[in-house]
Amino acid sequence: MNTAIGQPNGIAMAFFFVFIAITLGITYWAARRTKTTEQFYAAGRTVSPAQNGFALAGDYMSAASFLGIAGLVSTTGFDGLIYSTGWLVGWPVVLFLIAEPLRNLGKYTFADVVAFRLSQTPVRIAAATGTLATVVFYLIAQMVGAGGLIKLMFGISYETAIVIVGAAMIAYVLFGGMLATTWVQIVKAVLLLGGALMLAVLVLVRFNMNPAVLFAAAAARYGDAVLAPGKLVSNPGDAISLGMALMFGTAGLPHILMRFYTVPDARSARTSVFYATGLIGFFYLLTFILGFGAMVLVGPDAIRAVDKGGNMAAPLLAELLGGTPFLGFIAAVAFATILAVVAGLALAGASALSHDLWASVVRRGHASGSEELKVARAATVVLGVTAVLLGITFKGQNVAFMVSLAFAIAASGNFPALLLSMFWTRFSTAGAVASILTGTFGTLLLIWLSPTIQVDVLHRADAWFPLKNPALVTIPLSFAVGIVVSLVTAPKVADARFAHHQRQMHMGATGD
């Protein structure tokens, strides 16, 4: 098909500038309400459960979910749906195990929780390492994806796109802190859900409003195989390992965990995950329709002709169904999606630098609020510039694996220590540090030795480590190391200290 994709698109530009104008307006409004660390990191804890539910969904639904899954389904059929389900099932786990205790025990970062009854300095350093590793790889993936996609959709240069994303991200976080970031996420979530819903309805109108008719049309044209598992998962170990990274990684993503501090109490944290799970699940159900819709209406060959990875399936579908204006709208939504996700990541990374490393380690808890706030803002600028430089450095590289790498680090480095610190009396400082570092660096080492890097990136014949994603090994390893080291170092856990911990975990901080 003839497509306007790759041409400078006036309508897309117009929609995008409207989005930038609205979000900068929000940032201006939020900046006047961002004077303390509590306001900067946690929006003054005034966000309502429904707002936080949308913001969580906005933080979580990245361009990889929207463009990536739609592309994967449209070119491979059923296999893409493995991601649609995997990216949702972590949310109930967050709700059952993490959200409420986290809200009650911490202030701004998940390191607050791990360090609650352990030695501050070593635990903070380890937790900040896990946070920054997760954030940096996630950021690289988003920035490189952003540069490529924006170039494809708007026809502007890769470097310009990266600089625009970096500048907007810095502006939101630097001036508006968590309040602006939260509202950027909410606006983005509404746009993304609205855009995906409109697209799905326009597809279904052509198939009697019945998804089964759409799937049948796909099978009639491309064979029954598109409705069944194919070659994406050829090795059971790979399937289970990827599943573990997706399921437990969500519960260790620093920018997601940080959102639970923006609501007034644990009950609101609980309700906000309930909303988020509903919204995100609904979105992933829509990806079934978008993916198969693009397969039938646009066709896999036409999709691959525009972008080998299939990422343009949803924009092509929008163009086919609603012409250039709808393409422009969807392109602007995709840009907004990336922008919002990187803003959340930058804020989480900046908090690890300022709250965990500067205020708690360097200044040993003696930094004043205004000093910590200055450091947090400086850290935001440093991270933003770093993200832009990394985005430009990795131009043209295959970074698709970095999102699943970030999930694997979150699942193996952050999640086990967080869980053990909440629920296991004997968890010790040495155990926490060993667990986080083993999980983080073990994941990095094994991904380096895996086919993901050795075969796909370096083009070697084979790899020393057989699995594409190391979570199957590194999650149990991180738990085992945390438990064994804790038992060996035989901590003298003061019973009163754990009792205080347990009381605050269920009843919240009481100021004593």
Binding site: I82, T85, G86, F96, L227, A228, R270, L285, F423, D512
Partner: protein, 97 residues
């Protein structure tokens, strides 16, 4: 250790145990549902290729049901916590200073 608050902690321990039990059961259920689905993809793709009705393969149906199961499990937890857990915590009142 002679702690005058020792007895006060018994109700909290009971609530903590109840919450941990629910959390573990529901997490195990979620793991069973999702890894059951993934295991079928990995070990028995032919089964998932079977058609339930015209156009709807068992694989697509089960994939959608994994999402629905996530909703149902979160709903069960929120319902339990909003009624039983919150009530029990409230009944204990604020902890003594």
């Amino acid at each position: 250790m002679s702690d005058p608050n020792q007895d006060d902690r018994a109700p909290l321990r009971a609530v903590a145990r109840a919450r941990a039990r629910i959390a573990i059961i529901l997490t195990a259920a979620m793991i069973a549902v999702y890894f059951g689905f993934i295991s079928l993809i990995a070990f028995n793709p032919a089964l998932l290729a079977r058609k339930v009705s015209d156009g709807l393969s068992l694989g697509i149906l089960l994939g959608a049901l994994v999402i629905v199961a996530s909703w149902v499990l979160t709903w069960i937890y929120v319902r339990w916590a909003n009624t039983h857990y919150d009530t029990a915590i409230k009944a204990m009142g604020r902890p003594k200073p």
